[in-house]
Subunit: 436 residues, 2 copies
């Protein structure tokens, strides 16, 4: 399902070092599976795929899809960080690149509350006022500033256009089961609510309704997605030194301790750009603390070979690379022979573009290893709901193992508070006194 | 026009260090302006804004815009690296976020040749076959694999649908004035051609027709863009320690030599995401060589505060931040008071979202400096063609100064060749023997 290939790391991490880190990861595995580590209140994600498949969450999401299937053109998904990255990254990976232009969706999913940029929100309002609109707001507390501001705008827009009664049919809240401002408001206003479990943090929430409802609304198969994740869940939970998550957690810690400070997750398919954003949150927020952690960066090749390729090849040797590799393309274009061959490309005749791209991938790995950049490869067969489900779970599990191996709490994010506190002070929020 | 504010660097770079680096930048300035440095065959960009304004390039672009204004729905811009990043980043910065959905463009600009991803190209062909299509192909040589492959596909598509005769009206090539495969093909096939000057490298080409024609086709004001650049050109070329480009070049070198290996260019406006991609190429490719150079990274806040904010605050202290700051928003949304205040946001009543975002920016800078991340601020008044023209030129000039200060050739990219050589070998290109 998922292969981790470490050939491109061999000349940087010798066998005894790798074994040392595999031993460390084994301890981290015991910590994680035994619920003995820091943050163990947040282990709800561990069996989330299997638990969700056995629950009525899929049915709940389906009912909302049905309710909105006839009359809704646009759904605004409101959330920030883990509240939207899982859904958006999955939807972009499996959707036609020109879906918006071809309009072969119904409804279209757009996003808000993931920034506080006036022009973005003004532009969004321009767009939705021409459409029949609904909203899904995702927030455990309901008081995170960005989504709260966006939700106020969108809620006012919906209530203003359709009235309070109809707004009830057009707003769904995904939030805490019992507490928080969004839960209270939803109860009072009569919004349909779905639950983010207490013991699942934002960046581990793609298999909760926060991920599943937008995915279902966009027309993709939640069940396949969950089944792929469940297969990986079963695989990850059994200790095995050859388990891909174990191998990945070990090698990235070994490389980090050898002085590599940056991990570049590269892909050769622009549909995975947002997946990279999800991955950056997962690893950056889980490991970047106590003055430690790999700095997570993503690149899309061959695009970025023509911008960051020079640096990768010959700049500071402070990074390693993890190639997110897709074995097979989902579409086929064969290059034809041209009589005149004015562009000199006839040597590619009969090859598919996918084959050319695959050779570019192999060539890049060779070149980077030769240039002093260790390269790990994480490979899936092709982009399907099922394989992506497995991939998301794989990274979640590997991240928890990796963070425990590094010696940090994978599930907290204490550093996110400081800018918020400063901002509340500057904005004059009650309870925040300006001491400056 | 552009202000560089270094308050957030003061506790990391003391005055005497800053003066030392200003002295180094002064030498680099002499090297650059005297044409005495490595790569001095590629200084054509230095007076490009003023030269272009005095030429007939704007008129040439206008003629193509006119020619296509009535019957073309979609223009495919084909290019990779510097051949498309300038145009795409500018167009995204000044365009309505939901232009595609609102269809208030004519024609729509889409991109190809910036990857070799089969599914992307297959999806693109799905889209364009429903539209009246034209193409602009940008390549100095015409033999760079990705754009050459994409151009072969798009050319075949256009010739197949409209015939060879009409294809001549629908294809424009931007290429070398006299040599290369694309120039030969264009002469033979009778395509309109525009020129990329010999002495301007790809990443410095936004003010050539490679940048200007797509910008004009997208409906934006080339002249304002060039005039902003010319104003900055005039300012940059006069030595002054307080010149913003000089200040920026000095501080980033000082921070690099103090052990900061990563520069994070952050913005608080998602319209600048692609601008960040342009900036990454400019600096990464100019400086990332000889084992040196700042690793260029971009972040969009507040979005990424909820993913990479934790790392920025408490991870490894190996980065500094440069905030690309926009003083004024181009749109206004005032937050209203709500009677019930269920979301607790009434403390923001009467404020614009732009003000809230600006406070978030100040709060972030405070928090990051406090967390041990030096923060420089580069400020423009608002997003206009004119101000962006100044900003592109500012970064080009600062980059050349910075690279000379670092002691590398700002204008070559020798490291980009290795993956290409490996790829040609794997693909069996004539002349590339597989020795493995």
């Amino acid at each position: 399902m998922i292969d981790v290939k470490l050939n491109g790391c061999k000349s940087f991490v010798d066998d005894s070092t790798m074994n040392l880190y595999l031993d460390k990861v084994e301890k981290a595995f015991d910590t994680l599976m035994g619920g003995k580590g820091a943050g163990s209140d947040y282990l709800g994600w561990l069996d989330l795929p299997s638990r969700t498949l056995d629950s009525d969450i899929v049915a709940q999401c389906d009912r909302i899809v049905q309710r909105w299937s006839k009359n809704i053109d646009v759904v605004v998904v409101i959330g920030i960080g883990g509240s939207y990255l899982g859904a958006k990254s999955f939807i972009e990976a499996v959707s036609h690149t020109f879906d918006v232009q071809l309009r072969n969706y119904r409804p279209q999913i757009v996003y808000a509350g993931h920034n506080m940029t006036e022009i973005y929100l003004a532009d969004l309002l321009d767009f939705i006022k021409q459409k029949s609109v609904a909203a899904v707001v995702v927030s455990k507390s309901g008081t995170t500033t960005e989504p709260a501001v966006a939700f106020r705008l969108i809620r006012n827009h919906i209530e203003g256009r359709y009235g309070k009664e109809e707004a009830r049919n057009r707003i769904v809240a995904i939030t805490d089961s019992s507490k928080g401002a969004l839960k209270s408001m939803s109860d009072k206003e009569g919004y349909t609510t779905l639950v983010i479990p207490d013991n699942v943090g934002g960046r581990y929430s793609v298999f909760t309704s926060a991920g599943l409802l937008p995915i279902a609304l966009a027309g993709h198969d939640m069940k396949d997605f969950l089944e792929g994740a469940r297969a990986m869940e079963r695989k990850c939970k059994v200790w095995d030194r050859n388990n891909p998550a174990v191998q990945y957690a070990a090698v990235r810690n070994a490389l980090y301790m050898s002085g590599r400070k940056i991990e570049v997750l590269s892909n050769f398919n622009p549909r995975l750009v947002m997946f990279g954003e999800w991955w950056k949150q997962l690893f950056g927020e889980s490991e970047g603390k106590d003055g430690k952690g790999l700095f997570p960066v993503t690149m899309t090749f061959t695009t970025d070979l023509h911008s960051l390729g020079q640096y990768m090849q010959q700049g500071e040797r402070i990074m390693f690379e993890t190639v997110l590799s897709i074995r097979q393309s989902n579409r086929t274009i064969v290059l034809a022979t041209e009589q005149e061959n004015l562009d000199g490309l006839n040597y590619l005749s009969g090859k598919t573009i996918g084959e050319c791209n695959k050779k570019a991938e192999l060539a890049t790995i060779q070149a980077h290893v030769e240039g002093g950049v260790p390269c790990a490869v994480i490979e899936i067969n092709n982009i399907t709901e099922y394989n992506l489900g497995a991939l998301y779970y794989f990274f979640e599990f590997a991240c928890a193992l990796s963070a425990y191996t590094l010696g940090v709490n994978p599930f907290d994010q204490p550093g996110v508070e400081l800018y918020k506190r400063n901002m509340f002070t500057l904005l004059g929020k009650p309870g925040f006194v300006n001491n400056k």
